[in-house]
């Protein structure tokens, strides 16, 4: 691409996958069940990339189900939650954080805001190391508080079951996805217009869209679903490999990272550098100028390696000389 002075070999492909995932989510809105209507398929809850508040959604993101199950599941010993989590764990093992940067529709929306910022010529605000530590704590505490709120209100003997009407689904109340899908469907006329709009969710949606205009991927930095995936990071199959012997510490990987994930730059010992904040968008792999220093991996298979920028015209001419000699 023009702005990087180096070919991008992951971004176009990722963009297509993101559009497909978006189409997948939006198709539910007009009543097309993506997995079919079999009751067993309705037990599959996705790590993200879907939403309960899509009217025809046959399934939803598991985070809704986690909160709901923790509140409702006291009577049957949370068996539904445990079953659901087992499936989700399998899904996370299979795709890891590819769920974030390749499949999440809100990720695409945030990248759109980044594009908008680039068009205005503003630089992104980078989050310092100290800020990243705080955000990481916010991320895990969001997960903690979701569970803390959902669990007790479902236990009848505690006498706070009355709070269910207001406190149920605590995270969904502030999730930007809820804000987006309710308003969007009402605007399209898929859902009847109602006056009881989820103002909290709409507020957080606007807040994050504005924030992400200035700070790249603002929501990803505190997304609790991402934090669950980060916890599972070492068990999931896709990962980011670094060959420290080839690293020149040029800092390009840190500078271009939309999430300011510093392990790729700092870590000179570990093989797997893509844990915690990394969403496996592959930007560092594309832009690293050292041959084979960073690699996107799926289990033991290497998908894409970083490579030295090349002058294609010159390489072609050199190849010609090589082959020309063979003919003689």
């Amino acid at each position: 691409m023009k702005d990087t002075y180096k070919g991008r070999n992951i971004r176009p492909f990722r963009f297509i996958v993101q559009l497909l995932a978006l189409g997948f989510v939006f198709s539910q809105m007009v009543g097309i069940p993506p997995f079919g209507t079999h009751p067993l398929l309705r037990r599959i809850f996705l790590p993200n990339a879907s939403c309960r508040y899509i009217s025809e959604a046959p399934t939803s993101c598991y985070y809704y189900q986690l909160q709901d199950g923790l509140t409702q599941g006291y009577a049957n010993a949370y068996i539904d939650v445990i079953l659901m989590l087992l499936i989700v764990i399998l899904l996370i093992i299979a795709l890891g954080r590819l769920w974030c940067s390749w499949l999440c529709p809100f990720g695409l929306a945030q990248e759109g805001m980044t594009k908008l910022r680039e068009m205005t010529g503003l630089p992104p605000l980078k989050v310092k190391w100290s800020g990243r530590v705080i955000l990481r704590r916010v991320k895990s505490s969001l997960l903690f508080f979701t569970i803390l709120f959902s669990l007790p209100i479902g236990i009848g003997s505690l006498g706070i079951a009355g709070c269910q009407s207001t406190l149920a689904l605590p995270f969904c109340q502030v999730c930007p996805a809820k804000g987006f899908f309710t308003v969007f469907q009402q605007l399209l006329g898929i859902e009847p217009w109602s006056t009881t709009l989820p103002w909290l969710a709409i507020g957080s949606l606007s807040l994050f869209l504005i924030a992400t205009f200035f700070v790249d991927m603002a929501f990803c930095r505190i997304c609790p679903m991402g934090s669950v995936m980060a916890l599972m990071g070492r068990f999931s199959l896709p990962w980011l490999r670094k060959d420290p012997s080839k690293c020149t510490k040029c800092r390009i990987c840190l500078r271009v990272c939309p999430l300011d994930h510093d392990r790729v730059y700092e870590d000179m010992e570990a093989d797997d550098v893509g844990s915690e904040d990394c969403t496996l968008c592959g930007k560092c792999v594309e832009l690293c100028p050292e041959e084979g220093c960073l690699t996107m991996m799926y289990g033991p298979i290497s998908l894409k390696s970083s490579r030295r920028p090349r002058d294609m015209g010159l390489s072609r001419m050199i190849k010609k000389i090589k082959e020309g000699g063979n003919d003689k």
Partner: protein
């Protein structure tokens, strides 16, 4: 920056006699001619190299070109280190020359006046050149950009202020932490304003991006050359490769790109024919250590005349000049300057930085990639930083089973025979090791 107080060399005009000035000039010219002649004598030398010979020539074509440019009102910026972003200088419309001198003779006038005999000879030579104006190209310089890297370079920049305006650049010498990058970006922007003041042209984002693109192309050509040098019998010698890459410091980069392309295509043809620049069975050497500016090619010449061939180097006057591209992500001005600043700072493995593990890592990687058999570590007298790192590097290389020899040299031809003896012994040792290894593996195969 202006010096208000007494000038360092107040009586510089009258201090040196006309005879001494002329002698320095004459000997410099003779030295360059002699070095150039030995370079031209190399066997299987590509024809495209003649352009680079001409470019480096004392009072050669490049001097006349720059003189014309200067007479027409063009500005010429002198640089003292690899950390000056030349993209920026070119974007301002100025031309660049590298002021670090490789001439031996100007060391004497500097010795007379500076009173520090243990100082790095490259610094002394650069200063001496200025004192007796022994190199006409240096007299064209309108402004000097001098990063304060090592002690010698820092004081050199300060003293040069007596002749030309100097922009001192405060390079952070500790790489860890977030402040170092920020400081360096600010220094680059300071240099930018100074360049704008000098030339009167504001540096536009679009021009800068165009320049970055040209320099990235040059970087790609350089990595293409490195690929050719990986071969068992590279068709280009280490000295020629150094000559080529040092040309970027004084040439117009678009023209350099074109000439480099010709050279690469010719080299590829030579490689196809199986022509080798070195002797048959030459020891594959990696050259590291203190800078070696043309025409101070004493050590590489000795190595390549004693049955070794320099496959690659780890010098700031060689490989490191062109090792990294500028990768800009995003369109904003801040991002472009950040990318530019970081390319000249973070991957640079100059020993003035700490921590500097990059250097050992890069050398180990080069040894693996280029199939290096031995390392020649060259230090200039008084280069403490390189001297101190040499031991560390030697120990690290011992783990890899790679022998290293450390050579200390002066800007002087007196030690040639002594150095030659040591290099010859080193090359013999490498060849003996190779034969031992071969017989060993042959026995194992039986």
């Amino acid at each position: 920056m202006t010096n208000e107080g007494p000038r360092y060399l107040k009586d510089k005009e009258g201090y040196f006699s006309k005879e001494q000035r002329d002698r320095t000039k004459k000997r410099s010219k003779e030295m360059e001619a002699a070095v150039s002649a030995t370079l031209k004598k190399q066997k299987n030398r590509p024809k495209a190299m003649s352009y680079f010979d001409e470019l480096h020539k004392y009072e050669g074509a490049r001097y006349h070109e720059l003189k014309e440019f200067h007479d027409k009102g063009g500005k010429i910026v002198g640089t003292l280190c690899v950390m000056v972003p030349l993209e920026l200088v070119h974007a301002s419309g100025a031309q660049v020359i590298r002021m670090c001198s490789g001439y031996y003779e100007p060391v004497h006038p500097a010795n007379e006046l500076l009173g520090d005999a243990g100082l790095c000879p490259m610094v002394k030579s650069t200063l001496g050149t200025q004192m007796v104006s022994s190199n006409p190209i240096v007299d064209l310089v309108d402004m000097v950009a001098g990063p304060a890297t090592c002690d010698g370079k820092m004081k050199l920049a300060e003293i040069l202020e007596d002749w030309v305006p100097v922009v001192m650049m405060n390079i952070p010498r500790v790489k860890v932490g977030e402040s170092s990058s920020k400081l360096w970006v600010k220094e680059i922007i300071h240099l930018k304003t100074k360049l704008e003041e000098l030339t009167g042209n504001p540096i536009k984002k679009s021009t800068l991006r165009k320049e970055i693109k040209k320099w990235n192309e040059a970087n790609q050509h350089w990595s293409e050359l490195l690929k050719i040098r990986k071969a068992d019998k590279p068709p280009i010698s280490g000295r020629d490769a150094m000559l080529v890459v040092q040309a970027t410091q004084i040439d117009r980069i678009d023209r350099w790109n074109k000439k480099m392309k010709d050279l690469l295509l010719e080299l590829k043809k030579l490689e196809k024919k199986g022509l080798f620049a070195g002797e048959e069975g030459a020891a594959r050497i990696l050259l590291a250590g203190s800078p070696m500016m043309y025409p101070n090619f004493k050590i590489p010449t000795i190595i390549e005349e004693s049955g070794g061939t320099i496959i690659t180097d780890e010098l700031c006057t060689g490989y490191r000049l062109m090792a990294d591209p500028v990768i800009v992500d995003g369109m904003s001005k801040k991002e472009i300057y950040e990318a530019l600043a970081e390319r000249y700072f973070f991957p640079c493995s100059c020993p003035c930085f700490s921590p500097n593990d990059e250097r050992i890592r890069r050398m180990k990687e080069s040894i693996k990639v280029f199939g290096i058999e031995g390392v020649v570590f060259h230090t200039l007298r008084g280069c403490h930083l390189n001297n101190l790192e040499a031991t560390k590097i030697e120990l690290a290389l011992r783990e890899e089973g790679i022998p290293m020899v450390k050579l200390e040299s002066e800007y002087d031809e007196g030690d040639i025979e002594q150095v030659r003896t040591r290099v010859e012994a080193f090359v013999e040792m490498i060849k003996a090791r190779r034969e031992f290894k071969l017989s060993h593996t042959a026995e194992e195969n039986k």
